[in-house]
């Protein structure tokens, strides 16, 4: 019975509890809220990528009917507010120039805010914003992270020579160099990881309301981590004490990393509300979002791999210029370092690795975590190098991978780049993917097309990825520079009738936490999911929590919930033992019943025990009444999902057009709580990664003007450009968390760019083509073929 109960809830594809509101138009996102006397803020943004601001004349704007105020950096400064957005991840010797809410005398990218206009209506504020006269003295700009480090390049900050914010390395350089000496083969490549714009479909927004009598600010905003935003707002932006700020994440329309970071705009809205004592709403337009959301990726990498005669890897050297954009965004320094360099061993047993990274300021939007954050870049490097090595050695891409996998019996496995893989079993996932793809038959078809002289070339690409997610062990994060712990919290409030409200520090924005977390609780307590309510995304209701990113919600947030529930069960056991007059150690809890071992008719239900805890008429000596627990779960390691993806493409050799024919994904995210939601996460991640490989790119011209500022130019994957994905999985549970789960939110985006690019390169390799930079637009492919 108990086993059936478990099978029913945990691991079951139950429909999402979130959905009825969302599919009937009742989901309420930030811009859906209206408050009495609400005003509207519009930010005046720099049209120059780099310029001195000589003066700002706000008089005409301020005199416009319907305008309440026009503020500049000087106003924020004189208010006494700290007025900055901070960097929350520091590296040794990192340079962290101030990022003020509004520009102080200098703008450093197109979109940098110089003033804010608040009006009675959005229309009035918009019209007045155009009347703010800013006298700019344009400066030379630099947008390429390599060029930015050249002597004489335009410099963004006086005290940051060559625009280098940090110079970071990891691994044993000498040992790696030795690996290259006497290697039978070396393979090298310059790999660019294209700059992406996250494109959550809901643009960023904030609605700030200040209660001047209580001195309290309520800020509804588009956030993935309301407590982190509250903390940063308090410390660095508006200076209000933390307990006087309430941050609420209503429905949030996607994030993909872009709503982790604290931006000036939301803080400005909050500050304006405090000045005006009226609610202030700010909503980005799509073009504002594209200019100012933290972008992703933007690496230029030189990679070299040494191999022996049989194709075993002897060493890997990686040198990367990572663009940081104009300022260091919240977690930006972590992305191309601890989330990137540490992943360069991939699924492989590599005896020596050395990685060197320069974090570089450029006159562009800041760059920070975007779905995968560092790990897609690392996977791209290692998986491209595996294919380049296979091509050079004349080996099959599947075979060279197999030859280098960390063996199934080698776990825990310590890599040369600071991680300890706790578990893994890579070959079965590869085999499953190859079988699902019909790999041998695809190779046969590929050959027969060539033999027939077809102009439509077939390509098959593999990507065997690993990710370290479930961010992160706090001690490790702290040692590596994080200015935060990366645990998660859960409060389990059991009501007298036995139903449960869970307060989680994770903050859902599409991931289905209300469903998944209910399943965890219901499974453990023998309840129905309807008897569990999940509360998240409101700092006034929920204890401090770290939020949702880094594929951490199930592994860290879910584990916190599991532990919290287990504590409640433990307390219940003591009460049940007392009620049953049995020894505590003889009482077992299963499927909602406390029973005495060997005496099955001696039982108390969960509900009976909980009620007893609240009645408190007869509790064990010294026990407090009630049934409420709080757990802070601090993971002992990352979790390590892995898998192999296969892309099958057709290249039109006359036009260079790439058509995705099939996409097969075999993932291992450990135990699965809700397979429907897990699959959905893979679908979305894969689509974004395919988008990166084939279509997406933020393009700046040499003057720092964003040329892909709207959906007219920035190509997002659309339904007709994709196929239905073929998914399967293997299950290797995580050994160190109570649920045996690993993250799955980013896996798709981590694996797929390399799979697709490898497939296209496979299709054109008979022409001697080894590399084309993403996105693989038809023209680039066509030019390579010429």
């Amino acid at each position: 019975m108990a086993d059936q109960g478990k099978a029913r809830i945990l691991g079951s594809a139950i429909k999402r509890r979130e959905d009825p509101a969302l599919i009937t138009g009742k989901g309420r996102y930030t811009d859906d809220f209206t408050l009495p006397h609400m005003t509207h803020a519009v930010i005046v943004r720099s049209p120059y990528s780099h310029a001195h601001v000589r003066s700002i004349d706000t008089a005409a704007a301020a005199a416009t009917p319907g305008v309440l105020a026009v503020y500049t950096a000087a106003d924020i400064e004189s208010s006494g507010a700290p007025g900055t957005v901070p960097t929350a991840w520091l590296l040794p010797d990192i340079k962290t120039p101030e990022h003020s809410l509004l520009a102080k005398g200098r703008v450093r990218y197109v979109g940098d805010g110089v003033a804010v206009v608040v009006g009675e209506t959005r229309q009035a504020a918009r019209a007045a914003a155009e009347l703010v006269e800013v006298d700019y003295d344009p400066l030379d700009a630099v947008v390429d992270p390599q060029k930015a480090t050249a002597e004489g390049a335009p410099q963004l900050f006086e005290d940051v020579p060559r625009n280098i914010s940090f110079d970071w390395d990891l691994g044993d350089k000498e040992k790696t160099d030795l690996g290259f000496e006497g290697a039978a083969h070396t393979v090298s490549a310059e790999l660019r990881n294209n700059r992406l714009i996250p494109h959550a479909i809901e643009p960023r927004a904030a609605l700030a309301d200040f209660d001047e009598h209580k001195g309290e600010l309520t800020l509804r905003m588009t956030t993935q981590n309301p407590h982190v935003h509250r903390l940063l707002l308090s410390l660095a932006s508006i200076g209000l004490p933390e307990h006087k700020i309430r941050v609420i994440a209503p429905e949030v329309g996607g994030g993909f990393g872009s709503k982790i970071h604290l931006y000036p705009d939301e803080a400005i809205a909050a500050w304006c509300a405090m000045q005006l004592k009226r609610p202030v709403k700010w909503v980005a337009t799509r073009s504002e979002t594209n200019l100012t959301d933290a972008h992703g990726r933007d690496h230029v990498t030189r990679a070299e791999m040494a191999l022996d005669a049989e194709g075993r890897i002897l060493g890997l050297r990686v040198d990367t210029h990572a663009a940081m954009g104009a300022y260091l965004s919240t977690f930006a320094p972590a992305v191309p370092t601890y989330l990137y360099g540490t992943l360069l061993s991939g699924q492989y047993d590599i005896p020596a690795i050395y990685v060197h990274v320069l974090g570089v300021f450029t006159n562009t939007a800041p760059v920070d975590a975007y779905r995968g954050a560092g790990r897609p870049e690392a996977t791209f490097v290692i998986e491209r190098m595996m294919d380049l090595a296979a091509a050079q050695l004349g080996q099959d891409p599947a075979e060279i991978r197999r030859r280098n996998f960390v063996a199934a019996d080698a776990f825990p496995y310590a890599t040369q780049v600071a991680l300890e893989y706790d578990s893994g079993n890579y070959e079965p996932a590869l085999d499953k993917a190859l079988e699902a793809a019909g790999y041998a038959a695809l190779r046969t078809e590929q050959k027969s097309r060539h033999d027939a002289g077809s102009s439509k070339w077939l390509g098959i690409g593999l990507s065997s990825y690993i990710e370290a997610c479930g961010l992160a062990p706090s001690q490790v994060a702290g040692a590596l520079g994080a200015q935060a712990g990366l645990w998660e919290s859960a409060k389990i409030r059991v009501h007298p009738t036995g139903t449960v409200t869970v307060y989680t520090g994770s903050s859902s924005h599409g991931q289905g936490h209300e469903t998944t977390f209910s399943q965890i609780v219901a499974d453990r307590l023998g309840l129905e999911v309807e008897q569990v309510e999940v509360i998240h995304g409101d700092t006034k209701e929920v204890q401090f929590g770290m939020g949702t990113y880094g594929s951490r919600s199930a592994a860290v947030g879910g584990s916190a919930i599991a532990n919290g529930v287990d504590r409640a069960i433990e307390k219940g056991r003591r009460i049940a033992a007392h009620m049953l007059e049995a020894a505590e150690e003889d009482v077992v809890f299963d499927d909602g019943q406390y029973t005495v071992k060997g005496v099955p008719d001696q039982a108390k239900s969960w509900g009976d025990v909980v009620l007893a805890s609240y009645l408190a008429h007869d509790l064990p000596e010294g026990m407090e009444p009630g049934m409420e627990t709080t757990a802070f779960y601090n993971p002992s390691n990352f979790v390590y999902p892995f898998g192999t993806h296969v892309a099958v493409v057709e290249v039109d050799s006359e036009t260079g057009d790439v058509e995705l024919l099939r996409y097969i994904a075999v993932d291992d995210c450990g135990n699965v709580i809700n397979p429907m939601i897990v699959d959905g996460q893979v679908h979305g991640g894969v689509a974004q990664g395919i988008g990166q490989a084939l279509w997406e790119q933020a393009v700046y011209d040499d003057n720092g003007q964003l040329l892909t500022g709207t959906l007219m130019d920035y190509a997002l994957p659309r339904a007709h450009m994709l196929v239905s994905f073929e998914l399967d999985r293997t299950v290797t549970p995580c050994p160190h968390n109570p649920l045996g789960v690993k993250g799955i939110g980013e896996a798709g985006a981590i694996a797929s760019p390399a799979a697709v690019v490898n497939a296209v390169m496979d299709a054109v390799s008979h022409r001697g083509i080894r590399n084309i930079d993403m996105p693989l637009t038809p023209e680039k492919v066509w030019r390579a073929i010429q």
């Binding site: 999402r16 959905d19 309420r28 329309g253 959905g680 997002l716 339904a719 239905s724």
Partner: protein, 155 residues
């Protein structure tokens, strides 16, 4: 100068005065508080704002409210019959055709309009019909399945 318009929205006739430059989507969201219709871009390319006008799917960000005068408009809020969901809403739920939900109202309005013209579309036809709607969460996989389910009468 205001313009008086009369529009049947979700089965109820409303009369309002609107400014000429008010977009239909803002009229729906702000004047009528029908916030289920969302705005995701400003170039008529994301489809989040899709509603039906006289029974056909249109992007309400690319219509003036005054242009809607005399028409019948259906938004996501008008898709239920009593407490019963439209088959497409039900199908999106069954097939996990949404994650963050922001594009979803537009998706449901666009795909349910498709089925009015083509009751049994192929996967290719469904994907072509979704050209005007962007979803960043689902990779469209389950949206396609939802449309197929709705086309097959929800089974």
């Amino acid at each position: 100068m205001g313009h008086k318009i009369r529009v049947e929205v979700n089965g109820r006739v409303v009369e309002r005065e609107v400014e000429a430059h008010t977009l239909l989507v803002h009229f729906l969201r702000e004047d009528l508080a029908l916030t289920g219709t969302n705005v995701g871009c400003e170039t008529s390319l994301c489809g989040s704002c899709t509603v039906w006008m006289d029974g056909e799917a249109v992007k309400s960000c690319t219509q003036l409210a005054v242009q809607a005068d005399g028409t019948t408009v259906t938004t996501i809020e008008g898709m239920r019959t009593g407490d019963e969901m439209h088959p497409m809403q039900q199908a999106f739920w069954e097939e996990h055709g949404l994650q963050c939900g922001y594009c979803t109202p537009g998706m449901i309005m666009a795909t349910s309009a498709l089925l009015k013209h083509n009751s049994n579309p192929s996967e290719g036809e469904i994907r072509e019909a979704l050209k005007g709607n962007v979803c960043r969460c689902t990779g469209y996989h389950n949206i396609v399945k939802a449309v197929q389910r709705a086309a097959q009468g929800g089974s």
